[in-house]
Subunit: 90 residues, 2 copies
Amino acid sequence: MTMVLVREAVGQTLRAARTAQGRTLRDVARDARVSLGYLSEVERGQKEASSELLNAICTALGLSLSGVFAQVASELKSREGVTLTVVDAA
Amino acid sequence: MTMVLVREAVGQTLRAARTAQGRTLRDVARDARVSLGYLSEVERGQKEASSELLNAICTALGLSLSGVFAQVASELKSREGVTLTVVDAA
């Protein structure tokens, strides 16, 4: 069974926003005052971002927290949909 | 400045769902296989829930992850609204 993970949906949302802005990891990490390695791991869904650092990253990207989590909810819903389809086909 | 924290919106959403179902912390913690203290801290916004344990808690409550995070986004938006109002009035 594929488990849908919130940190993966968060990471994908943040990475999509950053690349849509044509910005580098280094640039956003500097503005958010987080390490480049931390931001990279968060974007790849390998690390849970703390609420405080999520705020800093969203601020660096010029995004509202509510907008990011509306996108996360949408991303989770699409992944849940895929899982259901696979279950139906089995 | 009031900082809106994701873990507080997550905790409020989970607690509201549990109490709406008339269930105790002990009951949900047992079903989710997390400690009562952990669930209590998550509900109070004092601990960041890991993605894996969030899945377990949502499953124990019979909620989809996407539904919970749609609610979290809505909760964050209402808190951001309050913050903006205060800023406008200052």
